[in-house]
């Protein structure tokens, strides 16, 4: 009992709730990327590698743009107006370059899976392996660093105080003062919903994902639709990468995604590729991850605590499997009648 009460003491704080929101952000982006791919009939295993690539290019794009605007003058010595201009340009450039890198990675997978008809699983795995080494290679070519981008002065997305909400006692502490990417991830949930269910393209994507032959028979260009969906998958994944290296932390380090792409994919599966369900699942994983962090200060073996988010993933998937199994049984029973 003492254990539970001290756990609740740690969890029922505004700081904890705020950390759940922060931790969920990259997972949610990855999951949204997973939705777009899954809806067009491709399981995008390369979410992890795509995010890692986007994270790297965001830092490179941001730092090089900043350097170019400053024109070789050290940030400490330059005119403050010029520095703020450089910072702004760096943030915008990092965001764009990172996102574009994400889109290109996803299109690369689409080209292999759709264009060359390779197995999407294997191609996705190959991309993940390639990017673990490839990102370090590119970082070394650009900056001479191999572990962390300490020679690149990259920017950070701004943290935002929400008007009105910030003055509400507990809610303000939780929801205000988060990074702009966190709010943006919530907006993206709505965007994904809108694209999938309110646009013609979304309808085509869903049709192609469910029965490509039927879609084709009514004149839908299946390949084109899949390329579009995969580009969107890369777009959201790219946002995830940018949020990792430009808001979560302000540098790129080797292998910094550390499984977040795969957790995002699990969230997508758990939410059955519906935007809202996926978001809820992503928050669940964020919650367990945050709980693992605070539980380290209690005397529980660290290895156990570190396993919690992954155990939660497994349990979630099993629950989901049982539920969908029951649904199928009910449906069959109905048909039998």
């Amino acid at each position: 009992m003492e254990f539970l009460s001290s756990l609740f003491e740690l969890i029922f704080t505004p700081a904890f709730a705020a950390s759940v929101l922060r931790i969920t952000t990259p997972i949610l982006f990855a999951a949204l990327g997973g939705i777009m791919a899954r809806r067009c009939g491709i399981l995008n295993l390369a979410l992890e590698g795509t995010m890692l690539t986007a994270a790297l290019f965001a830092v490179i794009g941001s730092a090089l743009t900043k350097r170019a605007v400053l024109g070789g003058v050290s940030a400490a010595l330059a005119d403050p107006a010029l520095v703020s201009k450089a910072n702004f340009a760096g943030i915008i450039a990092g965001f764009i370059v990172g996102t574009v890198a994400g889109i290109l990675m996803a299109l690369f997978l689409a080209y292999m899976a759709v264009g060359l008809k390779a197995d999407a699983y294997l191609a996705g795995l190959a991309i993940n392996t390639m990017t673990t080494g490839g990102t370090v290679f590119i970082l070394y070519m650009v900056a001479g660093d191999k572990g962390i981008s300490s020679s690149l002065d990259s920017g950070s997305m701004p943290f935002i105080d929400l008007p009105i909400i910030k003055d509400i006692p507990i809610l303000g502490e939780i929801f205000s003062g988060q990074n702009i990417m966190t709010y943006f991830s919530w907006i993206c949930v709505a965007i994904v919903y809108f694209i999938l269910f309110k646009t013609a393209t979304g309808l085509r994507i869903r049709a192609v994902g469910e029965t490509p032959s039927a879609a084709e028979s009514v004149g839908v260009n299946v390949k084109k639709v899949q390329y579009i969906a995969m580009a969107l998958s890369g777009l959201f994944c790219g946002f995830g990468g940018v949020s990792l290296s430009m808001s979560y932390v302000q540098f790129f380090s080797r292998g910094m995604t550390a499984g977040k792409g795969f957790i995002g994919m699990s969230a997508m599966n758990l939410g059955n590729a519906s935007p809202v369900g996926t978001a809820v699942a992503a928050f669940l994983f964020g919650f367990f991850d945050a709980m693992a962090n605070v539980m380290q200060s209690m005397s529980i073996p660290v290895q156990f605590v570190q396993a919690i988010p992954y155990v939660a993933t497994l349990v979630g998937l099993v629950v989901f499997a049982i539920q969908s199994d029951n649904k199928v049984k009910k449906l069959k029973a109905k048909q039998a009648k």
């Binding site: 673990t132 191999k146 932390v249 292998g255 380290q296 200060s297 005397s299 660290v302 290895q303």
Partner: protein, 357 residues
Amino acid sequence: MKKLLALVLAGVMAFSLVACGGGSEGGEGEAAGDEKLNVILVCSQLGDKSFNDSADAGLKELKEEGLINYKPLEFGNDNSKVNITLEEVAPEYDVVICNNLGYGMATAWLRENAETYADTMFLIYDEPTDLVENMPNVQMIGYKANESDFLAGALAALISETGVIGFVGGMESPVIHDFLVGYVEGARYVNPDIKVNVAYIGSYTDAAKGKDLGKTAIDAGADVLHQVAGSAGNGYLEAAMEAGKWGIGVDSDQYEVFKTEKPDLANSIVTSSLKNVGLSLQVLLREMIDGTYEWSQIRWFGIPEGCAGIAENENYLAKVSAEDQATLNDIKEKVASGEIKVSTAYGMDADTLKTYH
């Protein structure tokens, strides 16, 4: 299509060239009549801004002095290459230097094969164990990280206003525990009531998790955060910087690493707990060249040898008060002379270790 294929192939070749960089160029400088020691450093990857880079820098200095022939070899992230790489370099070089590559693979290989390559000297740094026992051509090298961290912990306790300090490790292992034990003892030496918030990232690359744990420690009241978690620990330091708290780096002088491009981060790193691998290798190689070298199971390097301690750089001198600096110098002398005995995590039983968490 052919052009595209050619382009792809060229790309693959460029990649593989870098990946096995130098793997096949062994035996450089083995010209006849060249009496210098041929030394090779085998590591997974340079550029860690930490102990591999430190080893590389120390050996480069010896090479520039004209005392040895030296080249580094990076075999990459694939641990299945450890054995093959060692097999390849062992007959080619006089001295092979590495850490315990692949989480114990290097020592496992040496147990089987060190006798076969009796003419080659193996220096295994940061592995003060008897994993390879009584082999006159395998020298284990240990660093008294507990002594470095005793000073780091003492400093943390001196500058802490809340009485809570933070520590994050990469993974639970004796090497990391040794830091922790020193850190906690040092802090308790200055302030017996100090609280240490201890956490492990479970990875040396997950910088985001590092940052989360940093924020968690700060929420728990910590105002000095010390990382021993490689590049993942930089997230921990960044959390300290953003909250206006102090950070303490590890292995190399992290203030110097970030000084030019990330001055805000650098300024918050008050010092770093040092592990001067390069210097220790220089000492051993110089002894070998002079003929004064004597084998022992484990060769320890600590404060008196200049291989342990904390970075006393310009940031440290500017941010730490003269009074605290004097206290720390006093503690340093006492540790070096043996007046203060710092416990070590090597061989410590689990229950005793728990008292440090």
